[in-house]
């Protein structure tokens, strides 16, 4: 696959505060990349630099192999979808979607209300624009709303209009900044699959900023985890989950929060801190880890057990739904497969490969 966009050693500081520190990110043609991180980690700044709305203090931005740091957002032909949707409140849905096309296909003179209308060719250009708008609206199920103003729409509808506005201009790249965070939980799941479908349909590269690891895992084929203005790790979801590069990534990725066991907590692997995911730890007669049960959450298909280790460490394990939960306070033996253990350096937090 060819590279469409690349941030190369990008640093961005506001006054003396460093927001991005030597960040390098590569986006492949047609890929779906999630920039994942807590708020303030620099993921939105990275996206704005990709868009051309912000500029790096140092480093390069390459689009299709050439340096674009001198180009504006429009010249890069990237589409951006904002968390707040950023719809123009005074324009109808159709006008909102049509605006990028109007700017491209009509000269300033043709855009004038009366003068433009009498110039030959304007009508045809407008017709082309309206056709594209209708096409996009149909794709997103907005046909009935074309004459409404943004103020009359629900959150999900606004989100679709924002997507439509990005869609019509046939951009080289879609940049989405937390597009689902203002929606309620059920709508979010639905829009997630709609965005994925849109990605497949367009075949364009998507860069998706989110703080929600579930969203990232569910949609992306590449996840870039950012922590404190740096790229902590990037790779396919499975690699991040199975081989987290450090404690912080291990803690961020995965539905259930990973257990960290210090030396002496029951699993001793030399000086290393042991990471073990709850889903890899289950009650077992022959288990090596002994812990005291504090509480159990029954979720139907599984039971989440909260336990305490020998030295008081908090441990969570997942038992199958038919597990007979003993009384709280009783000791339980927990088993795990040794290859599921992640080892991290106690000082640096970096992953340690086990000596084979």
């Amino acid at each position: 696959m060819a590279t469409i966009l690349e941030l190369r050693n990008v640093t961005r500081s506001f006054d003396s505060k460093v927001v991005l520190d030597d960040v390098s990110i590569t986006i492949e043609q047609g890929s779906f990349t999630a920039l994942l991180g807590a708020s303030g980690c620099g993921k939105s700044t990275s996206l704005r630099i990709m868009a051309g709305l912000d500029r790096p203090t140092s480093g390069e931005v390459l689009l299709g192999g050439s340096d674009v740091s001198e180009q504006t957002a429009y010249e890069r032909n990237v589409a951006m979808v904002f968390q707040s949707y950023a719809l123009y409140p005074h324009l109808t849905v159709a006008q909102n979607i049509a605006l990028p096309l109007t700017m491209r296909h009509l000269t300033p003179v043709r855009r004038l209300p009366l003068v433009g209308a009498v110039m030959p060719g304007t009508g045809k250009a407008r017709q082309t624009i309206m056709d594209k708008v209708h096409e996009a609206a149909e794709m997103l199920g907005l046909d009935q709303l074309l004459n409404s103003k943004p103020g009359q729409l629900s959150g999900g509808q606004k989100q679709r209009v924002a997507l439509g506005r990005a869609l019509v201009r046939d951009p080289s790249l879609f940049l989405l900044d937390e597009p689902l965070s203002n929606l309620d939980a059920r709508l979010r799941v639905r829009m997630r699959s709609e965005i994925s479908a849109l990605h497949r349909k367009t075949g364009k590269a998507f860069v998706y900023v989110t703080h929600d690891q579930t969203e990232a895992m569910a949609m992306a084929d590449q996840i870039v985890v950012m922590i404190g203005g740096k790229v902590a790790q990037s790779g396919p979801p499975r690699e991040l989950y199975e081989h987290p590069a450090n404690r912080a990534v291990a803690a961020f990725v995965g539905h259930n929060a990973i257990n960290f066991l210090e030396p002496g907590d029951g699993i001793d692997m030399g000086e290393s801190v042991v990471g073990l995911r709850p889903e890899d730890l289950a009650p077992s007669e022959s288990g090596a880890l002994l812990a005291r049960l504090e509480s159990a959450e029954y979720l139907g298909s599984e039971i989440v057990l909260s336990l305490r280790g020998a030295k008081g460490a908090e441990i969570r394990a997942i038992a199958p739904g038919d597990f007979a939960v003993p009384a709280t306070g009783s000791e339980i033996r927990l088993g795990y497969a040794p290859e599921k253990l992640h080892l991290f350096d106690a000082d640096t937090g970096f992953r340690r490969e086990r000596a084979a």
Binding site: S84, A86, H90, L99, M103, R165
Partner: protein
């Protein structure tokens, strides 16, 4: 909580008396403008004319330059408002939504300029206009007011409340900054524009100070200046037509006020708060 009838009556009477005081010159002006000559020059009190006499209005509209004064006023306030918007809106947008060197200094200048009443700058502007020879032209009436620190301030406060995403989206959609100003920011600022337009038009339509200084040519007189020409020419003999002229000059703004009271009160209240 019910108020007793008596506690309502006293304030009501006072309010009515006050309102009568406020309305007195309006009523007397209307009444004189509708009275025939002989009824004006009488010493018996009659608030209302015995019969409505339209000839004063006909006289004011056909025998005097009042229509010309109205036209001058219209050209002047339109010209002033046009240039004020043209200059203030882009500047306010830059102050609110862009970062550039000297932005804080510029905003400081705007606030400082709010403190300077127009009377203070009249002498040097008069000197300058005399120098370049544009006294006694329509431009002399319009140019001094194309700057409007108040307008910049008002629009800036409005634009600063709009989300930055909106302007970023427009940049991504290919709008130049100039296009963003006029296609996105300005249409969104309609409430601010309305308030500002009402303030500006009222202030300049009613202004006497600068027209008195900048023009001596009666054919350039604005309505207030024109009324004084008319009054001084007639030397007090033609009270009926003079009152009719006063009514005609006051009517446009008063009617507009009656039609859009809330907007007027907002606009004039906001405008008056400037230094």
């Amino acid at each position: 909580m019910k108020q007793s009838l008596r506690s309502r009556i006293l304030p009501l009477i006072l309010l009515i008396l006050g309102a009568a005081f406020i309305l007195l010159p309006f009523v007397w002006m209307l009444s004189l403008s509708l009275k025939p000559q002989d009824e004006i020059f009488t010493t018996t009190i009659s608030l209302l004319p015995s019969a409505i006499e339209w000839s004063n209005y006909t006289f004011a509209l056909t025998e005097t330059d009042i229509p010309l004064f109205l036209w001058n006023g219209l050209v002047m306030v339109t010209g002033i408002l046009f240039f004020q918007i043209l200059f203030a809106v882009p500047c306010a947008y830059a102050l609110a939504q862009r970062r550039f060197a000297g932005r804080d200094v510029l905003f400081g200048l705007v606030v400082a300029a709010l403190l300077v009443p127009f009377h203070v700058t009249a002498i040097p502007i008069f000197l300058g206009f005399a120098q370049i020879g544009i006294l006694n032209t329509m431009w002399a009436l319009i140019l001094p007011f194309i700057q409007t620190a108040f307008g910049i301030f008002l629009f800036r406060q409005f634009f600063a409340q709009l989300p930055t995403d909106l302007f970023d989206a427009a940049r991504g959609d290919g709008l130049s900054e100039t296009a963003i100003v006029w296609r996105i920011a300005f249409p969104l600022a309609l409430p601010a524009s309305t308030a500002f337009a009402i303030f500006s038009v009222t202030a300049h339509w009613n202004d006497l100070f600068w027209p008195l200084i900048a023009t001596t040519d009666p054919s350039l007189a604005t309505p207030p200046r024109g009324i004084l020409y008319f009054r001084d020419q007639e030397s007090g003999d033609n009270v009926g037509p003079l009152m009719a002229a006063a009514v005609i000059v006051t009517a446009p703004l008063v009617v507009a006020f009656l039609l859009a009271q809330r907007k007027f009160i907002q606009g004039l209240a906001a405008g008056g708060l400037k230094g």
